[in-house]
Symmetry: C2
Subunit: 172 residues, 2 copies
DNA sequence: CAACTCCATGTGATCTTATAACGTTTAACG
DNA sequence: CGTTAAACGTTATAAGATCACATGGAGTTG
């Protein structure tokens, strides 16, 4: 993995979209919204799944599956990898979370309900991640796909660089 | 890994950009071009690195690091993972190959020398991969990055869907 | 309620992907 | 030729992900 110098589980200096914010209640609101979505769509928002979402929201950063597993175990759930992977799979499949391929990590969705074609900005220094919107299928990529006869079902866009905080620290 | 039903090492039905083509000599020309680039930039285009590039060009599909390792071993090089990872790292760092994060696999660059900001179209059925050009930093993402103060150093764009051949086979 | 079905959960085992660490070799340079 | 830095080969191990199978609970149907 191309990983920076940050010690394993230290929290990044600036968790949400590079801006501090008070998220005392954004967790409960996001959970409630997920709960509603599940109820409306016949999905089972079970305890592990709910807890996994809460953990992602609480951390507000990209979390590896095994980090998630540790926290789920601490919360009294199973202790084997599939426990974490299954919960994460559910959250990702339903748009409550996203996988950051570049980091092999997962993060709570920052724009729940939005028309998802998320793009991520990943700081190579502190690993913080911010979510933005994108529509790559409308630009050059979409054109190439149509020309080639490729049917796009989903896209992932990840930009690597320096977050504002790290730009200042290391003007390099 | 989110992987399709294709047996482990079977070649995809249609390897290059979803179009068959005769690449009898495109290998040697790509290798020559890489060689020249290295000479001009003081890079060492060693036997393993050359062989690794040849293998990627020959296969003309995304190859896992361990698949690469097998082939390098067969060719008489070392047999331990770092051998493959180091060669691939060199090729990627210098733009001769790209890593497809979604597949944890590597593929020879299809537009050597081009101003790289590649985008990939990945078939979820047969795993074939085509390379297109993109410029995500110029669209909504670039705007968001500027607004947030994020300094983009590189982007990766990967679209998942169905290649033309698989669209026909499985109209679903 | 009983029987059935579907899905979710928990667990052990295993597989795949990737890196760390270290000694040796090789190419480049003065 | 001696020095130095990069590349190589190998052992070992870390990190990420999946398989397979048994258990258990929520609905549904009769």
């Amino acid at each position: 993995m191309t990983s920076g110098p940050r010690p394993q589980n230290a929290p990044p200096p600036d968790p949400v979209g590079f801006k501090r914010h008070d998220h005392s209640d954004c967790i409960s609101s996001a959970v409630a919204s997920a709960e509603q979505h599940c109820a409306e769509n016949g999905l089972r928002f079970t305890p592990v799944r709910r807890k996994a979402l809460e953990i992602l929201l609480q951390e507000h950063r990209a979390l590896g599956a095994y980090d998630m597993l540790d926290r789920l175990r601490d919360a009294g759930f199973g202790s084997q990898p599939p426990v974490a992977y299954r919960a994460l799979e559910f959250l990702v499949a339903n748009g409550f979370a996203h996988k950051i391929e570049r980091l092999n990590a997962f993060i709570a969705c920052a724009h729940p309900g939005a028309n998802h074609s998320p793009a991520f900005m990943i700081c190579r220094q502190c690993q913080s991640v911010a979510e933005a919107q994108s529509a790559p299928a409308r630009g050059a990529l979409g054109h190439a796909a149509r020309a080639a006869g490729f049917q796009i079902e989903g896209t992932m866009v990840e930009a690597v660089g320096l977050c504002p905080a790290c730009v200042e620290k290391a003007p390099s």
